[in-house]
Subunit: 413 residues, 2 copies
């Protein structure tokens, strides 16, 4: 295994070449990488079976094994994901702003690649290919560090991607996989300031904590979503029922699923029994007022209000005002996606203005907060931080800017 | 002294009020704060004299004492700085993008305050007022942590600013100064993730290292400027001489001053003796080829190429090509501001495209990379990182965004 700093140097060098590659070159590399994935399909599946057997032997849970396991259609989906990027416009080289100064200086702000984008991720081998594709399209070299559990799959996938790069005449090192999967190597990786321009961790709370504690490279946190749906007194209750059911049940395991229902007291008596019925199969826990209206709701603990269940479970709270709803959401939310259901425009504006989150949804489901649903074409994650990117991160969020100042000999007085 | 977490809670609460304040309210608070500074002038100067005497007694250098020392005109300048912000447009509430989706969802991306902006800074008491003003104008609460050496001045200034906030009907806690100036408190401060949305350190390498090592809050690094001027073979040598002299000598102690001169070998014989003469008073160190052309140039060590002198000293290097110049700049620069002097548009485009820095200057001085000179009206620092903000940071860089999604009951299928 090459030492991390050597890998870093290689990926840095490749990033310089990538930064000046044309849209055509990058697109050709995406096609070649997709072809290489398909050509290596049986090799990838063989390597994946090694990972899966190891996981089964060590008693890994069925859910995790399901995420890990590849089949032909999943390899095809990875290749298809790369080809999909062809249709998106190149985020690099756009003039974002330009202006002149009284002294004649002309200033342009242009979009440029970040350079080296590092991704630390868990047991999903498809991230190797997906993250690589987004990085390549945005002119960034991808420095990838997957988990030990998927190491054989990741090595096989990365090998194919690198073949694709070479076939398109771009440096293979625009995709570098770290094969040292020790904890020590992960910590070192997070501290490679010389070689990493942006780190995006894709994983659970333990990974995020480790990044906060150890990283000295710049990073964007793709964090928890303790998302609320607030049903206002002026809500259309049919609409509210549909949205709550969708937000909670359509795919409970993802970060933009709703975890908590907040209901205005004036409509609680009418709405709660109805929505509880529609949420059949969902375990509900709530405050006393909610429990008085629906006997099947169990008592919520204080911890429940802060919990992202990622499961068929939901907390229910009754409030007396919009103010109380906003305060509840801002106190317990994680700044991800928060919805209000109301026909009262004053209330929805107030909620949208005062709730502190990446996305506020008015009369629609939290599940729409997603790069694809926003029309970004692809997504590397959903940022819950406020710096650099907030909310769904597409290609544009993988860029930075550069000022180019043109003069005719101006000096500062 | 209130514990840090209590201060954090107070400044967080104030930030919620500030986030929904109107432009008029924020402007009124700026006026009131400026008035309060002027009214407290003698108190501020008295407190400052305590800091200055303590500094003198402990043998602090004259330069540091000069930065620390206030007089009436400096207090007036602080108040004037706050009033200057009145003319700038409010960066909050702008609709940056808006679009519709095929399912009828309407998505708006709007600018919102970061929330609580924390500043850690060194011995310049004017930062207390300047940073507060930029935070207030951009709807952010300011959480300020100055150095022990300026603590009496900072307390007096913060007291005046808080009076100004109260006079305008805004919460005093929109400006909170940490008075525990111990190292332990600084480390804790950098880890207040609950209460700090963005930390901007304003200080030297030791402070930056401490932030990289300890901070768990999001931060923007205002780092070193090892800035180069590259004089191409196609340069107008009069223009080149003027720019090099300006970039090096006009104010050598600041981060956008040039530290290194890179000269194409084809014009070195003609240019170097001439620019060396124009740089009278500047200590030059260079490579062998430079020294062969100008005998007064001393030998540069490898360290020199990486050094930000912040003084009347400059390294000189002769290169044989544009490629070599770009590679030298990218290897030794700090990603701040890099200039090329050339009449050849192909060369300047290539340099601008391939040099990896916050700003690239073509035929003008690195000294122009500055919030005021860019027309931002004010500046909180110059970011040398690529995430969130790169280059001069004005009011816009103190904002984040929020997506507001309006629907009519859409659910995800």
């Amino acid at each position: 295994m090459a030492p991390l700093t050597e890998l870093g140097e290689r990926v840095s060098n490749a990033s310089e070449v990538l930064a000046r590659s044309s849209s055509e070159q990058k697109n050709e590399a995406l096609v070649c990488a997709a072809d290489a994935l398909m050509a290596a399909s049986s090799e990838i599946l063989h390597s994946n079976s090694v990972d899966v057997i190891r996981a089964e032997e060590s008693g890994t849970s069925a859910t995790v094994i399901d995420r890990l396991r590849l089949d032909e259609s999943r390899v095809e989906a990875m290749a298809g994901g790369l080809r999909q990027l062809l249709e998106l416009s190149d985020p690099i080289g756009r003039v974002l702003e330009c202006w002149s100064r009284p002294n004649g200086l002309e200033i342009r702000k242009v979009s440029v690649p970040l350079g080296v984008v590092a991704i630390i991720y868990e047991n999903r081998p498809n991230v190797t290919s997906d993250a690589f594709g987004l990085c390549l399209k945005s002119g960034n070299a991808a420095f990838l560090r997957g988990s030990s559990g998927a190491i054989d799959s990741n090595i096989a996938i990365a090998r194919a991607l690198r073949k694709g790069l070479a076939a398109a005449g771009l440096p293979e090192d625009a995709a570098v996989l770290v094969t040292d999967v020790s904890h020590e190597a992960a910590v070192k990786f997070m501290q490679l300031r010389e070689h990493i321009d942006c780190l995006i961790p894709r994983g659970g709370p333990a990974l995020i904590s480790s990044v906060l504690e150890n990283a000295t490279v710049p990073y964007v946190i793709d964090g928890d979503g303790n998302c609320h749906v607030y049903v206002d007194k002026a809500a259309d209750l049919d609409l509210a029922t549909d949205v709550v059911v969708n937000a909670k049940m359509q795919r409970p395991s993802v970060c933009n699923a709703a975890e908590s229902l907040v209901v205005h007291s004036e409509i609680a008596e009418q709405f709660l029994p109805r929505v509880a019925k529609a949420l059949t199969g969902v375990e509900l826990v709530g405050d006393e007022r909610a429990r008085n209206l629906v006997s099947s709701i169990a008592a919520a603990t204080n911890e429940d209000w802060f919990t992202e269940y990622l499961d068929l479970k939901m907390s229910v709270r009754v409030v007396d005002s919009l103010d109380e709803a906003i305060s509840h959401v801002n106190t317990h939310g994680t700044g991800h996606s928060e919805a209000i259901i109301s026909a009262d425009n004053v209330a929805t504006e107030e909620f949208a203005h005062r709730v502190d989150a990446a996305a506020v949804l008015v009369n629609t489901s939290t599940r729409f907060v997603d790069g694809e649903e926003f029309g970004f074409g692809a997504e590397i994650g959903i940022s819950t931080q406020k710096l650099h990117a907030r909310g769904p991160m597409g290609l544009q969020q993988l860029t930075t800017t550069k000022y180019i100042v043109n003069g005719q000999g101006q000096t500062r007085g």
